[in-house]
């Protein structure tokens, strides 16, 4: 099993969600996060004083997936989140040792 984590632009979330749903992905966890990579932050001005804000708002998506599907999930995220501009984000995959569904106690593949 794999955990697919993606950091994307917030306004692309709907596109990504729909693309993943079309692929048959049954669930995901989404959180609002801040960070920076190559994209620069922005400046804010309060009473004439300028401040630089380094961290840019992003959305983090986390999906648990079978090994066989993980690359396809990642590919779909990359395609649906891309704007070809700096700051589009990243996707990474890490191996997962086990998964347990809390309600039923199902484990591994059955819990996905």
């Amino acid at each position: 099993m794999k955990l697919v984590t993606a950091i994307i632009k917030p306004f692309k979330l709907d596109d990504v969600k729909e693309a993943l749903r079309a692929l048959g992905v049954a669930g995901m966890t989404v959180s609002e996060v801040q960070g920076f990579g190559r994209q620069r932050g922005h400046t804010e001005v309060y009473r004439g004083t300028e401040y630089t804000v380094d961290f840019v708002p992003k959305v983090r998506i986390e999906i648990l997936s079978d090994d066989a599907d993980a690359q396809e999930v990642a590919r779909v995220i990359v395609e649906s989140a891309r704007t070809d501009k700096i700051g589009d984000g990243k996707v990474w995959l890490v191996p997962v040792e086990d998964v347990i569904r809390i309600r039923t106690g199902e484990m591994g593949h059955d819990a996905i």
Partner: protein
């Protein structure tokens, strides 16, 4: 001069000014959190810009001596000349036709507050996507070419619609129909928000919207009861009518939405109240209590249905200025043709239900039609001109990032210390 009248209109002018921040919060709560300052600023900026234009030129063009045909006032009050002289009664006589019992400078101030909120009403339609500089240019041009002429036609005793005998107690045509149809013309040029209508663009703070609704309702007593320009029985009639119409419309909207969707919503209650306030505006001092309840109830139900039109016709009136202000304004202006009652106000003609026949309705139709045509056509042309020169819309990535940061370099909500914000150059 009458000191009681003066005291009430002084208070009313302040009440009407308060409506614009109220409107800003009403709308501000309905947009997404990345655009709330953009919305507030579009509204607040009107207070600054319109006030200066009004004093320098626009009051004169609206209420100065007619230049001919009832189309526009002259330049007699440029810079509010001759209105602040020591003899207030003599100064009042300088304003043609109004027979003011209050100082003319107070009339200037009271009318100014109406002039401020009218372009501000349009901001609800254009939410989330208009460039701030384009908005500033639009307001200045729109006040000169659209608001001021129509205010002269309807509110000045020398205006052609006033002379025809069309009735508008507090601004159904000048304020609400005018802003509503202008909003439609502007969004037709501006285009839809990115992602509309597919994406959810849910209100970010309904508590703000409800607070704004309360401020609007409170201020509307100045708007309508103040429009009597006197502290008298007609003001009292307008006051109670205003309140009851808003209350009935709140019920009307919520009842219809409960029947159709199954829930009574806070946004529905707020929207219904505003729809009722809009519809009663032209009627406030010309009708009795029972007609006010009917007008309000109808406004709530009909405006609820009207806001669905944008999905059918595909124009992105983001916060329903067309559905509430245009439709509510037309509804009130035309229902006056049925309910106007000279027993309530001797200055009113009788409507169809009070033995007046079709005469008044014909005049109301004329006033509504003239406002619709002038406002739509001129607004559309102004929008095209601004679009072709400085551009109406923010860039696509600016729209995605939000108006607050891209147009104003500010964030509305900064929770916690997690922002890593450093002062530039330190």
């Amino acid at each position: 001069m009458d000191s009681g009248n003066t005291a009430w209109v002084l208070a009313s002018a302040a009440l009407v000014l308060f409506m614009t921040p109220g409107l800003a919060f009403f709308y501000g709560g309905m947009v997404r959190s990345k655009n709330v300052l953009g919305m507030l600023m579009q509204n607040f900026f009107c207070i600054g810009l319109v006030s200066v234009l009004w004093a320098v030129l626009l009051f004169s063009l609206a209420f100065g001596t007619d230049i001919g045909g009832g189309l526009l006032g002259g330049f007699d009050f440029v810079g509010l000349k001759d209105l602040g002289i020591a003899d207030v009664a003599e100064a009042a006589e300088n304003v043609p036709g109004l027979a003011l019992t209050i100082p003319p400078l107070l009339f200037v101030a009271f009318q100014l507050m109406f002039a401020i909120i009218t372009p501000a009403l349009i901001t609800g339609a254009i939410a989330d996507r208009m460039k701030f500089a384009a908005w500033v240019a639009f307001v200045a041009l729109w006040m000169l070419f659209v608001y001021t002429p129509i205010a002269h036609w309807v509110f000045s005793p020398e205006g052609w619609l006033f002379q025809k005998g069309a009735l508008d107690f507090a601004g159904g045509t000048v304020v609400h129909i005018n802003a509503g149809i202008a909003a439609l013309a502007l969004v037709m040029v501006l285009g839809r928000r990115k992602g509309w209508p597919g994406e959810a663009m849910a209100p970010h703070s309904l508590p703000l919207t409800l607070l704004g609704t309360g401020i609007l309702w409170f201020g509307w007593f100045g708007f309508n009861a103040g429009s009597a320009l006197a502290a008298d029985g007609i003001a009292a009639q307008a006051f109670i009518n205003t309140h009851l119409a808003a209350a009935a419309a709140l019920l009307g909207w919520v009842v219809v939405e409960r029947m159709k969707g199954g829930h009574a919503t806070t946004l529905g209650a707020a929207s219904g109240a505003v729809a009722g306030l809009v519809a009663i505006t032209p009627c406030a001092g010309f009708v009795g209590v029972v007609p006010s309840l009917i007008i309000g109830f109808l406004a709530g139900g009909i405006c609820f249905a009207a806001i669905q039109m944008k999905f059918k016709f595909g124009y992105d009136d983001a916060l329903d200025v067309v559905g509430i202000h245009l439709v509510g304004g037309i509804l009130g202006s035309l229902l006056l043709g049925f309910f106007a009652d000279s027993a309530i106000n001797p200055a009113a003609a009788d409507g169809m239900f009070n033995g007046g026949g079709f005469d008044l309705m014909g005049k109301q139709l004329l006033a509504v039609g003239a406002t619709l045509v002038w406002s739509f056509v001129v607004t559309f042309v102004l929008a095209k001109i601004i679009d072709a020169t400085i551009g109406l819309r923010v860039k696509s990535d600016e729209e995605a990032e939000g108006l607050d940061v891209t147009q104003h370099a500010e964030a509305a909500y900064a929770y916690g210390d997690f922002g890593s914000m450093g002062r530039s150059g330190s």
